[in-house]
Structures are given as C-alpha cells and as structure tokens.
Amino acid sequence: MARNKFAVLALSGLLLITLTQCFTNKKNEGQRLYEANCQSCHMEDGSGLRGVIPPIAGADYLDKHRDELACLIRHGIEGPITVNGIEYNQPMPGVETMREDQITNLLNYIQTNFGNNNPRYTMPEVEKMLEKCPPHRK
C-alpha cells in the first residue's frame, strides 16, 4: 500500500514537471524575443534591408564585436557601423526593459541561427558585459 502511494506520488510529480515544462516555453525565448523586437527591421531571415539595415545572417559584426552586443541591445546604436564591409547609418532603438537572462537568450539565438555558428554566451558573461551600460530607468 505504502509502495503504491509512493508510486502515485512520484508519477504525479513527474507529470507536474512535464506539464510546467510544456507551458513555460522557455526554450524558444530567444526566437520569441527576436520576433517581437528585431524582426520588423532585420527581417525573418536576418537579411536586413539592402544598404539601410545591416544583416544579422552571416554578419561579421557579431563575432568582431561580440562583447559589445549586449549593451547594443540595451541602449541601441546611433551613427555609422560597418557590417561585412558595407557602411550602415540607421539608428537602432534599444530595449531597456529587457532583462539580463532575456538578452542572453536573444544573443544566443542570434549567434546560432540565420546560418551563424558563433559561440554561445553564458549568463554571467552577459551580466558582466551589461555592467558597462546600466539601464537609464528600471
């Protein structure tokens, strides 16, 4: 009897874990953040807009400026930047409300999708990068 009780408890525990995993949908957070914040300018395929908005797909900038990207997402960028040898000069608004863990997920999504195959970030790494650019408002 006690054995049975234990089995039921273990099973329902397992079920609960499975269900919550299903509904949190943490796994695709990077992609969802990209779709919500980046896609309208950088496009579904990360190709950007010819001459106006730099691409994310195959962009050398992602590797060359790896340590600046977290702050770039938080505060945006103004002024010219060069991506794959082409100069772009279109201001990008920052997303100040994005948390450290969200920025990490977004960066990892960008670095490993659209044909990109760059190393991923750890959260402490991103947190350290973000110390240089505290949010203007919390």
Partner: protein
C-alpha cells in the same frame, strides 16, 4: 459478344470526340481567358450629358488629383512626371521602426523585377517630412542603390501628403501613441496612366506583392492596347 464490343467502341469514340471538343474550345479561347483585366477601384459617379438630343450616361471614376512634391534630387515631381506611365506608390518614413523596412524590402523586389521597364515608376511618399528632408531621402535612396528616374522618394507639405494619401485610399496620420509617432498602412497602390487606382496590395505580405508583380504586366498591356 461482337455487338457489345461495337457499342463499347462507339461509346468510346463519342466520349473521345467530346473530350477533344472540350479540349479544343478552351484552347481556342485561350488568348481571351488569359486576357485578365484589373478593376477600377474607388467611388464612381454616373454623369448624364445630352448628345444630339439623346441622354448619354458617362461613368466618372475616382482619380488621384494633381499633386506637387519634391524628390531626392530636389526636383519637382507632379502628375506630369508620370504622364503616359503607370506607377506603384506607398507611404513610409525613413526612421519607421515597424513595417517600413519590410515594405521597402518588398518594394525592392518590384524594383528589381521592373527596373528595365520604362513605363513603370515607383513613388514613395514620406509621411514625416519634418525629418525626411531631400538630403535624408537622397541618402536613403543611395543606400538602397536605386535610380531616381525609376524610384522617386518625395517629400513636401505635410498636409498635402496626408491628403493625397487619402486619395490613394491609404491611411496616414500622426499618432503619438504609435511606435515612431505615425500610424500608416503598408499598402502598395497600383495606379494607371489616367491616375485611376487599379490595385491595392499589402506591402508587408510577400504573397500580395507577388500578385502586384503579376498584375503590372496586365496593366502595361492594357496601356499598350489603349494607345493603338
């Protein structure tokens, strides 16, 4: 046995003939079937006039009124600029954070497809003339690497731009609540040489832009026929 076979053959021949007929007639009508025409959009009015004592009813179609803007090369752009041509027009602003980049990437598809077609021009109006000066539009067009005679970017008096947007049946207005400060539709409007609206497409939807790309030759052909 033989009789049954005979009637079967007869049946077979008949149905073959019927099939051939059916196949033949659409083939005959082929040119007419592909002779697709585009609707004339907008309100229309019936106007009566008297000719030789008889009352004749003319249909007055919605027409885009005269306009005057300035393009990326500081040249005046009016309805005269598009005389004898058809054009595709839209409303955007260069700093738009929402749908414009997508619209522009789709408009580039139209541009690339028809850049050698002398009778088609693209016309993009800024709805933020305060920011999008001639110099800003020039820079934008140069970055897109497009030719002025093929793709006009125009700025001008704000009210005139918003008024003409309405005539193209496009929404465009200022709204502080909106991202970027303006609310506007992502429509691409196809206009014929009589400044009548012949198609409205969602410029953020590649499938609808495909339809526009397919409709352009239909309108060019109509224009060619009309001139004969």
């Amino acid at each position: 046995m033989i009789r049954i076979n005979k009637s079967a053959v007869k049946k077979y021949t008949l149905s073959l003939a019927a099939a051939l007929c059916l196949g033949y007639f659409p083939a005959c009508n082929h040119s007419e079937a592909t002779e697709k025409t585009l609707p004339i959009l907008g309100e229309r009015q019936a106007v009566e006039r008297v000719v030789d004592g008889k009352t004749v009813v003319d249909t007055l179609y919605h027409q885009v009124p005269d306009f005057a803007f300035v393009n990326q090369d500081s040249q005046r752009v009016t309805q005269q600029t598009f005389a004898g041509k058809i054009y595709v027009t839209d409303f955007f602003f260069t700093t738009c954070p929402t749908i414009c980049p997508k619209m522009k990437s789709q408009m580039l598809r139209v541009y690339e497809q028809y850049k050698d077609e002398p009778n088609l021009v693209l016309l993009s109006h800024t709805i933020d003339p305060q920011h999008d000066t001639v110099a800003v539009l020039k820079d934008y067009a140069e970055r897109l690497n497009v030719q002025t005679d093929k793709w006009q970017f125009v700025t001008g008096d704000k009210d005139s731009i918003y008024d003409v947007a309405l005539k193209y049946m496009v929404t465009a207005m200022e709204d502080e609540q909106e991202a970027g400060g303006f609310v506007h539709s992502g429509a691409f409007v196809l206009v014929d040489e009589n400044r009548r609206i012949r198609g409205i497409y969602d410029g953020t939807d590649p499938a609808q832009v495909d339809r526009l790309i397919n409709d352009i030759p239909v309108l060019l052909k109509e224009k060619g026929n009309g001139q004969k």
